[in-house]
């Protein structure tokens, strides 16, 4: 990492930090996602642990400069292991008044606030709904405010290239990056490489010049009297890269297909925030991946069922409203007992709700959202990189138990990024898949619903001689799979399907307890709240409190050892980004008075608010 200190000021004071949380905020057209991604990669390459949280405006592109159009990207980098993109900001870059207005409340007192002074003109202020200019009225006194003539400086930097003003202004994000890179002693090199591969000609030049101009501004002006340094983190040895949640999910399913020697079929209909999985997989034709953009979610789901019947690793991806539409067909999948994955990247609900915001409120729908007694395994990813393993594990369950599996992610995981220790395919365990072979007339007739010791039925593929059989959504006779209206058989089949799903828990590894395995308080998290819960519990442990943490990857069935663990604690707290859905499962199954800590505000938990909540048990 020869370049890792390049750009660190030689003239000014350098302050060492444990970590920092920085947010770029500006108009959707201002390239804030790009700026954030570059800082993320650069920090990761510098050896920090990183975690990010992009925050898009609602789906529609609002007029420039309005509050509705603000886009943000938050990054947390540190010299120790971290699990969240940070609660409050150490530094905020606001490219216009609207960005200032919508983001300021997250900046900690005394934090660094960099604004583009040029954008605080009459129109900009009006659009943001500022009656007075906040740069002048003293309302920002509790922050370290840096008013940079960012637009003017950028224009100056690229002037000689003869670009139009519009094109020049499109480099403002690089200027801002340069400045922030200087501030945190970051190398420009990775971004330079990026610019050279992604842009051409004078646009590339302009971006590079702006980047350097921003860096130089920090270095030379008097405004900034110090910069910061965040040392490399002590991470597990290995080769790393950054990975985004949806990307990890896409890569995970491709890997699972290879490990199981299946072809991958994706039936999907675009929906925020799941669409990117479709986009990634559409690029993987050379991996033999078949992507089918269906006419709607019902077609996506039923095409998935068709592909599963044909023998593919068939998956479907969607978000809450789309999963609602798939409910009837998922029931068919359960009845057919074919392996497939249903991936729900959750977003804010109900109905269309808050499409670009995160929430964990589709757990009920995952577990209960179908007609009849219709159980299926449900598994949830906990972080962007974890999506990779979760995808593989979900497919393992699906083929081992011949069942659709619901995999839950959420908008926060889907768009967030973090370092990922790059695995080697050959080191990943194979996923064994068996298909019954051909039969002759002399063999006993094929029984499509004859089960193995796990209660899984055979996955017989069309095309196999001697296995012709017919399946469907009507209740089936045990063993033969023929239609049956027999009362006792129905009871037996309902029990069997339930037992089969319950058997999945027999394969789980022991639940890991973070902290003592008994004590005052047990915090139980699931899905994307893993990082903040873990961090909060560790901090409270550091403060000497008797609190432990477990994270549930498996929502249905719940782990066999869960009850025992819970019984060793006085209190159980289940924080969720919903109004208490996992909580309901736990309370009903174990008749245990667990309590919820619930929030539905389109954002992840802050570590601070969790610590406050945990603190209540110790006050």
């Amino acid at each position: 990492m020869a370049t890792s200190t390049e750009g660190i000021s030689k003239n000014k004071q350098v302050i060492k930090l444990e970590g920092a949380t920085v947010r770029f905020a500006g108009d959707s057209g201002d390239g804030m996602q790009l700026a954030g991604t570059q800082l993320t990669n650069t920090s990761a390459l510098a050896g920090n642990d990183v975690a990010t949280f992009p925050d898009f405006p609602a789906e529609i592109r609002a007029p420039r400069g309005t509050l509705a159009g603000v886009s943000g990207f938050q990054i947390h980098f540190a010299s120790s292991e971290i699990f969240t993109p940070g609660d409050s900001l150490d530094a905020l870059v606001a490219m216009n008044p609207a960005a200032l207005k919508t983001n300021l409340s997250d900046l900690r007192a005394g934090g660094i606030l960099i604004v583009d002074k040029d954008s605080f003109d009459k129109k900009g202020l009006e659009q943001a709904g500022y009656a007075k200019n906040p740069l002048d009225d003293g309302s920002l006194d509790s922050y370290q405010l840096f008013q940079v003539e960012l637009t003017k400086n950028t224009r100056n930097a690229v002037e000689s290239l003869g670009l139009g003003l519009k094109a020049a202004d499109r480099c403002r994000n690089f200027y801002a990056m340069g400045l922030v890179f200087w501030l945190y002693g970051r190398s420009l090199e990775p971004t330079r490489r990026y610019v050279q591969t992604k842009f051409k000609g004078e646009v590339a030049d302009a971006n590079l010049r702006s980047l350097e101009a921003g860096r130089n501004y920090g270095e030379t002006t008097d405004a900034f009297y110090s910069s910061f340094q965040v040392d490399r983190a002590e991470l597990k040895a290995g080769k790393y890269r950054n990975i985004i949640g949806n990307q990890a999910l896409a890569w995970g399913v491709v890997a699972a297909a290879k490990l199981s020697k299946c072809e991958l079929f994706l039936g999907s209909y675009p929906i925020t925030p799941a669409s990117d999985i479709l986009h990634y997989l559409s690029e993987f034709k050379h991996h033999g991946v078949k992507t089918f953009q269906a006419e709607d979610e019902i077609a996506a789901m039923t095409a998935t069922i068709g592909a599963a019947f044909g023998g593919d690793m068939a998956i479907t991806t969607s978000s809450g409203p789309g999963i609602a539409l798939k409910g009837e067909a998922i029931g068919l999948g359960v009845m057919l007992e074919l392996p497939m994955l249903v991936i729900n990247v959750q977003r804010g609900g109900p109905s269309t709700g808050l499409p670009t915001k995160t929430e964990q409120s589709d757990l009920f729908q995952a577990v209960f959202g179908r007609n009849g007694e219709c159980p299926m395994p449900v598994i949830a990813a906990r972080s962007p990189s974890d999506c990779f393993n979760t995808a593989i594990e979900a497919w393992q369950i699906a083929v081992r138990y011949m069942t659709p599996v619901m995999l839950l992610s959420d908008g926060y995981i889907a768009n967030g990024a973090e370092p990922w220790e790059i695995p080697t395919m050959s080191a990943l365990p194979d996923i064994p898949v068996e298909h019954p072979g051909p039969r002759s007339e002399d063999d006993p007739p094929f029984m499509p619903y004859k089960r193995d010791e796990r209660l899984a039925r055979p996955w017989a593929l069309p095309g196999t001689v001697g296995l012709t059989h017919r399946i469907g959504g009507l209740e089936k006779q045990d063993v033969t799979g023929n239609i049956s209206y027999d009362p006792a058989n129905h009871q037996h089949m309902v029990n069997t399907r339930a037992q089969k799903v319950n058997n999945v828990a027999n394969d789980y590894p022991a639940t890991q307890i973070e902290g003592a395995d008994q004590g005052e308080l047990l915090v139980i998290s699931w899905g994307g709240t893993y990082g903040s819960c873990l961090t909060a519990v560790r901090r409270m442990q550091a403060l000497g409190h008797s609190v432990s943490h477990i994270h549930l990857r498996y929502i249905n069935p719940l782990p066999n050892d869960l009850h025992g663990i819970m019984q060793r604690f006085q209190h159980i707290l289940v924080p969720e980004l919903n109004m208490g859905q996992l909580l309901t499962l736990i309370r009903s199954k174990y008749v245990i008075d667990a309590k919820g800590f619930n929030k539905v505000q389109g954002r992840p938990f802050g570590v601070g608010e969790l610590m406050d909540k945990i603190g209540e048990y110790f006050s």
């Binding site: 990492m1 990669n41 990761a44 390459l45 050896g47 990775p190 597990k236 040895a237 290995g238 080769k239 790393y240 890269r241 890569w251 290879k258 072809e263 079929f265 993987f284 034709k285 050379h286 991996h287 033999g288 991946v289 078949k290 089918f292 269906a294 006419e295 709607d296 019902i298 077609a299 039923t302 095409a303 998935t304 069922i305 068709g306 592909a307 599963a308 019947f309 044909g310 023998g311 593919d312 068939a314 009837e328 067909a329 068919l332 790059i422 395919m425 069309p462 095309g463 196999t464 001689v465 296995l467 012709t468 059989h469 017919r470 399946i471 469907g472 959504g473 009507l474 023929n482 239609i483």
Partner: protein
């Protein structure tokens, strides 16, 4: 290349399940003709899959000794799409009803047809919901009195072939349950077509809509009410082939052959026309104003979604080379912690 196939008989395509349609139902005949056609296709039994939705007609897969999937209401075309993408080597049939295919399943039907996957869709049109005991369907005529329309239906009926043609169908045909030779021929043509074949079969539901197609099946009247389409041939009908269809601008008209009109003046059928306007026009000819055409309205060759999918994958494999996941994982910016 030449695989020796055992010679199969229609009875080899009978499954071990009891057939449970009402006695006298038109579905029996369609099943019988299908069982005649299947052994002639040169496709091994285990390479065939019948997919259906829900309805009396949709019980069909249970009665055919191939692979089968009796799914949920209206979704068979979408299931078939996934299956065909996964397994282009299979011969996939969809059996549906006028309710299953045009009411709840209309959208999947439309998109399956436009994608032109190599799938054969047979719609049993009895102009009623049979399985749920007699509500009107999208093909029930205006004024039809049923359990859910005691004062008569007020929805303009849909015409299955007009819709199929409206959504870019490459193969469109119609036949009649009791016209067994014609039905057999039509099913065979559908099976042989590469691309989505859409076949409407007039089917009598003798319990809830008896006689809906009597005009077209009655021995006395059918020569005047049905016209058989043949590619390249003029449109002639009548007991003594004494009547024909002529085009007057964009309107078909019935003419008597002989009286100053000879066969050359008639409309000639062209199932291979590039644009489907003729097929559309033919789909509008309806009893009692016109004899209703049966046979193949349209049969053209167009790219097939399933084949295109295969070829994009092959091409991408060729251009982008080996699909090495390790290479992918290690692409872009990486760093090593030691």
């Amino acid at each position: 290349m030449a695989i020796e196939l055992p010679v199969l008989k229609p009875s080899d395509f009978a499954s071990d399940q009891d057939v449970r349609w009402c006695p006298g139902c038109g579905d029996y005949s369609i099943l019988a003709q299908m069982k005649k056609v299947l052994p002639t296709l040169g496709v091994p039994r285990e390479k065939m899959v019948f997919v259906s939705g829900i309805g009396c007609s949709s019980r069909f897969p249970y009665y055919v000794n191939t692979y089968g999937l009796h799914s949920i209401h209206g979704r068979a075309p979408a299931i078939a799409t996934g299956l065909k993408c996964a397994r282009p080597d299979l011969m996939v049939w969809v059996v549906t009803g006028d309710g299953d295919g045009l009411s709840i399943g209309g959208n999947h039907l439309m998109h399956c047809i436009r994608r032109n996957l190599d799938i054969n869709i047979v719609m049993f049109n009895n102009r009623i919901y049979g399985l749920t005991k007699g509500q009107y369907s999208p093909t029930s005529p205006l004024g039809k009195v049923t359990k859910s329309t005691p004062m008569g239906a007020i929805d303009n009926p849909l015409h299955p072939l007009s819709i199929a043609i409206g959504c870019e169908a490459t193969f469109v045909a119609r036949s009649i349950d009791t016209n067994i030779k014609h039905l057999e021929m039509t099913l065979k043509r559908a099976a042989e077509h590469r691309g989505t074949s859409f076949v409407e079969v007039y089917q009598n539901c003798n319990v809830f809509n008896d006689g809906a197609f009597e005009y077209a099946t009655d021995k006395a009247s059918k020569a005047d009410t049905v016209i058989e389409l043949e590619h390249g041939k003029p449109l002639v009908f009548g007991k003594n082939r004494e009547k024909g269809i002529r085009l007057h601008g964009m309107n078909p008209e019935i003419v008597e052959i002989g009286k100053g009109v000879n066969e050359d003046d008639l409309l000639f059928h062209d199932e291979k026309a590039d644009e489907p306007s003729l097929a559309y026009l033919l789909s509008r000819m309806r009893y009692p104003e016109f004899p209703e055409p049966i046979g193949v309205f349209r049969a053209v060759d167009r790219p097939r979604y399933d084949e295109e999918m295969v070829s994009q994958i092959a091409k991408e494999r060729q251009t982008r080379g080996d699909a090495d996941l390790d290479k992918l994982f290690n692409s872009g910016e990486t760093w090593t912690v030691t």
